[in-house]
Assembly symmetry: C2
Homo-oligomer: 393 residues x 2
């Protein structure tokens, strides 16, 4: 139904409290229907899948009503959770953050506005990452006590999933930012991975205390003296990410972005080598057939759609970025992530974490990094976060 129909009807009194979703906002999520390669078709199909998993969700679907109405008409499931809000324009993939800010009637902007006005608790978009970051900072704004939002995502490891941040929202970070990322990553791991006391590692070039630069050593000192001390493992190295040494891996946006893409690249290389091996001759092809059930299971673990949904943490609302090239199943997963965060009061957990850390942070004079003249995220940094591979857990 469209908003006009909704106004004519009794209208929902707020989301179902049985789901844990707050009644304060009318909608659980505002979804940018026009972002991503297959929008709006993929978005609506994704919401149809999400409707099965979150029947009590209330989705404000924002985009070109003329295109959305017929799509919803064809999908009873999507229709059951969605309300259309018309947006006359959309942000293109090529648009810079500054241009996106000027376009006040885009579907992405109206989705952000809905969160800023407390109509919805979160945003999901598969659109332009740079625009999403710029709009989120300006419209939804950073949470009190948090200096900068960070991009976080789940990544596979030999010991189960690992939360990694920042993946590109901040090219340069000071020691205070790193500490805040640790607090936000810890809250993320509790909510999305369901861990009672996630362990935290600070990414460095060695595990000894004297390794790294002043910035990273000061962040470690603050964490060792903080309320998170018992969960702080200390420094971890690149190979610790996939080894699952800690549940949360904290780093600056430059290093995190490079590490994420390097890990993905290495897994892709391993996959292409395996393919060559199995295609080499009749015997190896037969070998493939025999091992196929396990190989298929491995491919499922490694399905990037299972890792779709990078989260911009540290804002006054939940902002989830779906990969622009994902399909309906992948988009549904990004909706899952957003619903998880909304349902489990992710931001409230961060607020508690920041408050507990208050004194430790107040006594810190941050070791500065170079000014963040150009965030890494525009383009495809957030997209990249979703090409992840699962593990056996």
């Amino acid at each position: 139904m469209s908003e006009r129909d909704l106004a004519a009807s009794a209208g929902p009194s707020g989301a179902d409290s049985a789901t844990g979703v707050s009644d304060a906002a009318m909608y659980s999520l505002a979804v940018d229907a026009m972002g991503g390669d297959g929008a709006p078709g993929i978005v609506v199909d994704g919401l149809a899948i999400a409707a099965e998993r979150h029947p009590a969700a209330r989705i404000l679907l924002i985009g070109d009503e003329a295109r959305l109405a017929p799509l919803l008409a064809r999908s009873k499931a999507a229709r059951s959770i969605c309300t259309i809000r018309h947006a006359p324009t959309a942000i293109t993939n090529e648009m810079k953050g500054t241009a996106a800010l000027r376009q006040r009637d885009s579907s992405m902007r109206l989705a952000m506005d809905a969160v800023a006005r407390h109509e919805a608790q979160g945003v999901v978009s598969a659109g332009n990452s740079g625009a999403l970051l710029a709009l989120a900072k300006i419209v939804i704004k950073t949470m009190p006590g948090i200096d900068r939002p960070a991009l976080a995502a789940i990544s596979p490891s030999a010991c189960g999933d690992v939360v990694m941040l920042d993946l590109g929202a901040n090219v340069a970070c000071d020691s205070r930012n790193l500490v805040e990322f640790a607090v936000m990553g810890e809250a993320f791991a509790r909510v999305v991975l369901g861990l009672p006391a996630p362990t935290i590692g600070l990414l460095n070039v060695g595990s000894e205390q004297m390794k790294g630069d002043d910035r990273i050593r000061q962040a470690a000192d603050v964490l060792r003296a903080s309320a998170l001390a018992s969960q702080f493992h200390g420094f971890v190295e690149g190979h610790d990410i996939t080894a699952g040494t800690t549940d949360v891996v904290v780093t600056d946006g430059f290093t995190g972005n490079v590490a994420l893409k390097t890990g993905e690249g290495a897994l892709k290389l391993a996959g292409s080598l395996m393919k060559q091996v199995f295609n080499a001759n009749v015997m190896s092809r037969l070998g493939y057939v025999l091992a196929r059930p396990g190989l298929d299971r491995m491919r499922e673990w490694l399905d990037p759609r299972r890792y779709n949904g990078a989260v911009l943490v540290g804002l006054n609302g939940v902002v989830v970025k779906s990969h622009g090239g994902t399909d309906a199943e992948g988009f549904a997963h990004a909706v899952d992530v957003a619903m998880d965060m909304v349902t489990h009061n992710f931001n409230e957990r961060i607020r508690i974490g920041v408050a507990q850390l208050g004194n430790a942070l107040a006594s810190t004079r941050p070791v500065a990094a170079a000014p963040d003249t150009n965030p890494a995220v525009p383009g495809d940094a957030a997209d990249r976060t979703t090409n992840r591979l699962a593990t056996t857990g």
Copy 2:
């Protein structure tokens, strides 16, 4: 034979010029016999293998003569290329760089001294990486025109081997350092990979020109205006390393170290998943047997020993770090790398590259990074560079 025996004999008139090794130095390489987990046994066994491949090499084998003499007595091959020089002490793995500098009679120090005195053209050591970097900087010294040495190694990609640097010698780098790394990496790729005009990429969070920080954008500007312009591809991302987008990947020591270890970790994860798949049941084990020839070939490509030998580039001599835990075959590979660099006048190529770049560099006011208070390399950074996996080429 020991040096005393050598003095009593006619002595070599210098290395064989047929190998291209300069006659200026009496020895091709000074080898630290006491560095690494299996030293000195592994070192001598490795030199026995190297002797088959480099029969004209002259190796100054430095370490505890009482232990080395019986080892050489048992190996005709190693004996044929080695001359022992006694060193009363050795650098331990736990020793800090500053302590290593004070120990003037260690095998590693005497090996460096031999290069500084032009007795040998290069050093190979499987010992303490931090000590090796500290000693190399102080004893062998940085090449004129180069601000800082960098750690470089070969890494696998879908399009053949790739040179990556810095892998941890400098936690923080300014724009000038990055440009110098590009020059040195290019020379490395010519010599070790035998490429006539290697392409160069600067590691960044995106490939567009406005991505990254000032430091990295200025380095790109300098390279675009330099003698290397035609080989400079621009920015590359983490996944481009294993995709083989460029032959050389340039980055700071922090990012390079993390990227290297993350890639290794991801390949290790893929390997352990494959192992689980093949061990799942009788059918999959039979599948493994059928595909085994190809899988074995893949394992050979992926053999870290094939990638052993990280090079400290930018010094007045060749310095090669072998993995501390490698075996004789791996150590022989590190000797191969060092012989390649000595034979093909690696440092002369860097000198030419720096001279060609002179004007471009002179006009650069480097965009500074934080002071390099604590290099990344101590401990195992260089060691890590050797856990690399090969590709199908």
